[in-house]
Amino acid sequence: MPSEPPPTPRGLPNLTRILTTTESLLPNRVSLADMLDTEKMQLEIMPPVKDLAPLFVVQPTYPFAAVMKEIEGYVLVQFTVRQNGTVANAIILDSEPRSIFDDAALGAIRKFKFLPREVGGDPMTVAAVQLRFAFTLEPAYAP
């Protein structure tokens, strides 16, 4: 789950200003800006933005010893999603109980693949993404 908001997309060139320039070439006519009434138009044309989404998810291995001892817990990992969607720089931020599930969580997150964040069609590297893995042995209900 991304920890930081997507960057503000860059705006397109100022359309109003372009039309004003055109107007100066046609001094005896109604300006294009007036014709289109661009001053009143709320132009909110944004470049396409895509945010991180998991494409390939790996369930961490539940350590056998933890299963046998009925140990449950969680691991909070932090990592970078590269431009190609792969994961780098994975570290443990927090875990409970300490170290029992850390390797399993790191092993899993390193195999994740994300749809990279894109701004204006350009994929970006995103650092400090955090994900929490829960390790539970609860049987499933069937509502």
Binding site: Q59, P60, T61, P63, F64, V67, A140, Y141, A142, P143
Partner: protein, 187 residues
């Protein structure tokens, strides 16, 4: 006829809910107490769903199947709130009403699991397995966890392998099975 329609609506909702890719169908189905009871049983963070279940049961207009499902769903809410005795009472009623529904056996088995009655829980999961192949992965997964509690490791592994065959996409089953595999053949 109307009652039959309500039954099919409840089952449709259950199918939608089982697939996280599908939107919640509750808005198009309207809201009944039985439906709200079902919804609350999926995320029973509090006791508040109990009232919907009570209303649905007391109205007396549910089909036998929906009544069993509502008792079972109320049992889930009780269990999630740590009231296992009440949960078991509801699951007992549900099983008596509709013993051919795998859900009632799965949920009763879970209540027994939580009260450490593992052998009885196993019996319930086996009944669910025998009743309907549709919920086979869930039944087998729960059976495996129960077998682990009983230290019947080889049987647990076998149950997980069969569960994974029935639901190859289940990451949860695979996660635990991988833990077994990392040790090689269990003793």
């Amino acid at each position: 006829m109307r009652l039959e329609l309500r039954t099919s609506l409840l089952l449709t909702l259950a199918l939608f809910a089982a697939d996280p890719a599908q939107p919640a169908a509750s808005t198009s189905l309207g809201s009944t107490d039985a439906l709200r009871c079902y919804q609350e049983s999926m995320f029973p963070f509090s006791n508040q769903g109990i009232d919907f279940c009570n209303n649905a049961i007391s109205h007396g207009d549910l089909t036998r199947r929906d009544l069993a499902a509502t008792y079972s769903n109320r049992g889930i809410i009780h269990a999630k709130n740590g009231k296992f005795e009440k949960a078991l009472e509801d699951h007992d009623r549900a099983v008596r009403l509709k013993p051919d529904m795998p859900q009632v056996h799965i949920n009763r088995g879970n209540a027994l699991y939580h009260t450490h009655e593992y052998e009885h829980a196993l019996t319930e999961f086996d009944k669910a397995i025998a009743t309907d192949a549709g919920l086979l992965p869930t039944s087998l997964f729960n059976k495996a966890l129960t077998l682990i509690k009983l230290h019947r490791i080889q049987e647990a592994r076998s149950a997980l392998e069969t569960a994974l065959e029935a639901d190859p996409e289940s990451r949860r089953i695979k996660g635990i099975l991988d833990g077994f595999d990392s040790l090689g053949e269990p003793s």
